[in-house]
């Protein structure tokens, strides 16, 4: 059986490992445009904030491909798929035959439309190479502008603040991480960042960059000029789907997959940041471009490709981050629409030094936000993921003493 995997991110790597575990002799080819050994993408924010060295990024041995008997085609980007002839087309016109294909091409940073993007020290933050460039640019930098208050923008701003830079963050909603947390938690996080020197501009976007070779200022659509000597663009990511032949493989925002992570074309699977499937908490199709999701999806896709039918129940958003003295954990749908009929429980707040919010649809937990005391977050995540009806009063889940034993009857 010839397995071909497009993408050597965590989804592709976990899929290859799963295939190899079930089939010692399968032919596995992995196509990746990065030549670096398999590494941890989320850790690049730890490299930026200085808590971890760049050398700690690899999470598999440097002999990974040999050990797993994988044929790596690195430094090459897949350009297309010939579904009828079961071939992957590479940018250099080479064709790779497959019996089973996994599309784990991931996502690229959402590009910014602005003038003067060619100035030096304007970065995206996505790959280990970006991390290396960012750390190099920190030398002598004093003022930074971060575009976007989502996960990437937030982590970029946090890392730069920890490095001692003055940071201005441009966000569209009133607080960062508005997709992940509710307003109370968002303001607790924002206040913590402001206490450490963050400046926030709400509702403005950058239309141009000025400089003299290197960037010196960002110009907003409101006409203000923000002096800076580095910029990080964190406007989210978009699935890499240009290689997908439209009309032959169903595509929405991401590549649509069924419960076995198979696309509309038999024998072709998708996993990770490029895949779109039902979101367990939102109960609608969604792309959850998250690393732990990609790892699990990759593994399940690999098992299915190797011939063991394993269902994936759907994706679930989840995040955990440490923000100076705050530990923030969020799972599922923290901000249900007002007319959704969800019940919301809240406790704590800025004055109490902790915060907890639960969102329930009937007696099933669909979302949770925790600030500090996050150790039981995995229990809540598991309740959401398994759509477990909660049989004890949900208030019990909010108490500091809540533990797994209380769920047993």
């Amino acid at each position: 059986m010839k397995h071909v995997i497009i993408g050597n991110g965590i989804a592709g790597v976990c899929a290859a490992e799963a295939i190899r575990k079930l089939d010692a002799t399968a032919d596995i080819t992995l196509i990746g445009d990065e030549t670096f050994p398999p590494y941890s993408r989320p850790m690049i924010s730890h490299v930026l904030d200085g808590s971890q060295p760049h050398g700690k990024l690899p999470i598999r041995s440097e002999h990974f491909y040999d050990e797993q008997k994988i044929t790596p085609l690195l430094g090459r980007r897949a350009g297309g798929i010939d579904v009828a002839n079961r071939q992957v087309l590479l940018a250099d016109d080479a064709r790779i035959d497959f019996d089973r294909l996994l599309i784990a091409s991931g996502a690229d940073p959402r590009p910014l439309k602005a003038e003067g993007l060619d100035h030096k020290n304007i970065f995206y933050m996505r790959t280990q190479d970006h991390a290396k460039q960012l750390v190099a640019a920190l030398d002598g930098a004093r003022r930074a502008v971060v575009l976007g208050g989502g996960l990437v923008g937030f982590k970029a701003a946090y890392g730069l603040l920890k490095r001692g830079l003055a940071v201005t963050m441009l966000i569209t909603s009133g607080y960062p991480l508005s997709m992940q947390v509710d307003e109370t938690a968002g303001h607790m996080i924002l206040d913590e960042l402001i206490r450490h020197g963050l400046t926030v501009e709400v509702g403005v976007s950058v239309c141009a960059f000025e400089g003299n070779g290197s960037v010196q200022a960002a110009v907003t659509d409101a006409g203000t000029r923000l002096p800076c000597d580095m910029v990080i663009i964190g406007k989210g990511v978009l699935p890499c789907r240009t290689l997908i032949p439209r009309g032959q493989i169903e595509v929405d925002l991401g590549v649509i997959v069924d419960e076995h992570l198979q696309t509309s074309a038999p024998g072709i699977f998708a996993a990770g940041d490029v895949a779109e499937m039902v979101d367990i908490a939102r109960v609608c199709p969604w792309v959850n471009a998250l690393w732990p999701e990609a790892a699990c999806q990759g593994r399940v896709a690999g098992l299915n490709m190797a011939g063991r039918p394993v269902a994936y129940p759907g994706s679930l958003s989840r995040n955990v981050m440490r923000v100076f003295d705050l530990d923030v954990l969020t799972v599922g749908n923290a901000n249900p629409r007002k007319d959704s009929g969800c019940r919301v429980l809240q406790a704590g707040g800025a004055a109490q030094g902790y915060y907890r919010r639960l969102v329930l649809r009937d007696d099933v937990l669909v979302g949770a936000v925790m600030i500090n005391r996050i150790e039981q977050g995995g229990v809540l995540r598991s309740l959401i993921e398994n759509r477990m009806p909660i049989r004890l009063p949900p208030e019990r889940l909010m108490t500091p003493g809540f533990n797994f034993g209380q769920l047993l009857l």
């Binding site: 690899p58 995040n319 995995g378 797994f404």
Partner: protein
Amino acid sequence: MKQVIVHPERCVGCMQCMLACATAHSRSLTLFAAVQETPQPKPRIHVGAGRFNEGFPNRCRHCDPAPCQAACLSGAIYRRDSAGTVMINPDRCINCASCAMACPYGVIRFHEDPLGPAGHAIAVKCDNCSARVAKGQTPACVETCKAGALTYEEMGAAMRRKTRDVSRSMSTDADQPAIPAGIALLKSIKQSELQLSGS
């Protein structure tokens, strides 16, 4: 292969296992010296209150596949294949708490540990007392548990014994209840106390 087996119905909530666990993961390995250590050793088994305030000993299940291992951002979590124990490499752990979000049982804690790097908080959890087992000892929590809530035995043997105990307690001339009378009394007192107080 022997493993630690938890019998929550027997736990009286005395927390002796927590003390023994912390001591077993200290530098000095004795209780009186361990309390003087900096950083202070902490337990990796957690006795919480159940629904009726009964004790509930909560420890790592060493799941396979382990969700914490799949979620670990830095590749610090691995399985020691000989015993199936899920381990955290303290020098690779970056204290990101991704494993806390993955663990369905809530058994991972984050703090500086006597056996980890100095001055850095890391993820800490049960290691099946691998250092003690290597010396031919039983895990510390089991050795100290007087209520029989923690045992160290073959899973197959434990299952058979449990099945036998339950079927014996169901027969009409039951000579032995499934739970010792004292422990059963303590649990029913706690439960009635809670019902009387109306919560």
